[in-house]
């Protein structure tokens, strides 16, 4: 089934109710949403195999806590797009604001433009792929999952990072506390290539990336590390 929903004449509440009701027959429904005009909390809490295409810019928390569904935002996204996503695939064709993919547990967030600060904060297992640059404090306290940054990273990348893997192609303004460069083995190159191919990124070679992760020196509190905090 293919549907259209015009937010110029509808409401966020009505749209989300409609989205929550779709896909019951276990088949992939498609819906095109027009005139989002920066509205918040669009397509949140989806649990079924829908394909949602939003034509325009969205506000806060678009595709928040997504499960299974594919959400494409044909524009820019406000803060915390795909926050706490559990599974599924969220694509933003433009740029994204702060906290993109915050605390996401699973699925993939693909940003075709740049991401602002704190992208992937407290990441818990999802893959975040940024074709452009990311702002400061990205991957702060990131726990697990993977982040691919095809452009440059801002200050204090990966501060207090746990087990998340960071692949960065461009320059890094600075690394955060306990975040260090790690060796890029064949295994990591293969893993990165798979991620790039799955995101349809053809212009970047895995060999051009460096890998970063945790030095694991702050995993258990030691008073001698107090200067690091």
């Amino acid at each position: 089934m293919s549907l259209e929903y015009d937010l110029a004449s509808g409401s966020t509440r009505e749209l989300n109710k409609k989205l929550h009701a779709l896909g019951i027959a276990n088949k992939t429904d498609k819906i095109c949403v027009t005139n989002p005009n920066g509205a918040h909390a669009l397509a949140v809490g989806l649990t079924r195999p829908l394909k949602v295409n939003i034509k325009g810019h969205v506000g806060y928390y678009c595709a928040g806590m997504n499960q299974i569904a594919e959400v494409n935002i044909d524009g820019n996204a406000g803060p915390a797009v795909a926050e706490n996503m559990m599974s599924g695939y969220v694509t933003v064709t433009g740029n994204v604001s702060h906290y993109a993919g915050a605390t996401s547990h699973g699925g993939t967030l693909l940003v075709c433009g740049d991401a602002s600060s704190r992208c992937g904060i407290s990441l818990k297992g999802a893959d975040i792929i940024i074709k452009g640059n990311v702002g400061h404090m990205s991957a702060f306290m990131a726990q697990t999952g993977r982040m691919v940054i095809c452009g440059d990273a801002g200050e204090t990348l990966g501060d207090s990072i746990y087990e998340t893997k960071l692949y960065v192609r461009g320059s890094i303004a600075s690394l955060g506390t306990d975040c260090v460069q790690k060796s890029m083995t064949e295994k990591h190159k293969n893993e990165l290539e798979t991620l790039l191919i799955s995101a349809g990124i053809t212009g970047a070679d895995a060999a051009e990336f460096n890998r970063f992760g945790s030095a694991r020196k702050l995993y258990n509190f030691k008073v001698d590390n107090a200067d690091a905090y």
Partner: protein, 450 residues
Amino acid sequence: MPTKKNGDSQINLHELQSRLKESATYPRQVIAEIQRAAETGIYDIRGWGAKRSVPNFDDLLFLGASMSRYPLEGYREKCTTSVTLGDRFASKPIELKIPITIAGMSFGALSGSAKEALGRGATIAGTSTTTGDGGMTPEEREHSELLVYQLLPSRYGMNPDDLRKADAIEIVVGQGAKPGGGGMLLGQKISERVAGMRDLPKGIDQRSACRHPDWTGPDDLAIKIQELREITNWEKPIYIKIGAARPYYDTALAIKAGADVVVLDGMQGGTAATQDVFIEHVGIPTLPALRQAVEALQELDMHRKVQLIVSGGIRSGADVAKALAMGADAVSIGVAALIALGDNSPAFEKEYNSLGTSAGFYDGWHEGRDPTGISTQDEELAARFDPVMGGRRLANYLNVLALETQTLARANGKSHVHNLEPEDLVALTIEASAMAGVPLAGTDWIPGKK
């Protein structure tokens, strides 16, 4: 006369004690803390809430009925205790039989069976219990008729399926024991199950963030609440929990952000693990915090429309009744609930002694060696705790709190505990009078009011 050998000389202890002069600035506990800090190089971390003496509900008294106020007959005339929470925006508000809820405490800080007992006890008594950092366990959901799901800064275990299973959602902004502080679950309590629920390796310290990862300030919070309501079809009441820092403004901002319920936690409120210096020196006591929160609700014409739950040092039905008289809709208990389950029981005195403490003083909840099996992830210790018995004990305690509250309400002529009012109260001290906004006993005087 008691004597003690000291080398070759006999010292008369009684005489010695009467001659020794202890410093008010450096009493023995302060000296011991300086010595401990010098030895270890790290601040003291502990559980429990503030242990210092602060003005509290004991400093208030009910006036009782008199010529102009008619009492209700005990055991005969009805005095109801029910409360509805969250009917401002939620389509499915919570109905409690008693105005006493169980505060958020995490699986991780507490054993699975202790969490189960909290659910069992609350359910028998007709009230709600609350998850904590680390998410919702199936046992907790199964044994809790009414379960409030906390959304915390760490988002450990945050899952939209559990969000939909909850009866209400509590956005935790702060905690009375540590307003402005995060938390740390030490590695020794991180079992495989706890680690799995929090997406971190086993055995490492787990830092709980002090700020939410995806919003900053009340304007953002209003949008965050919209997202949560959209995900849960506008069914669940949304609580906002604040530590008692600036309760007048924080309550007003929580109302503006769209809360159905404000949960206010005073500095006596408990914690599983925080620095002693933080617990004792940040935040304000429950008494003035409650008055300021009620003032904010009244000024915005939201009193009884947005419900107020107050916690931090609620121990008896007298505390419950006084909190309600000052304007709270319900109270919440944490430390008292753990004590009801069996925490600090004299039955474990020998084991407390082996940990360097004693029943009544044990606050090392962060260490995971709790002999009662309540604040531990050690399977052997946790197996000592019987969740059915623990639930029964908690239900008994909650029933006593409710009965005591009714007794005091009837004595003041109230047919519902919510009919208690500030006019029923007086204060024993000038400090409590100023903080609670009720007159000093025997006067019409409230310091700071004309």
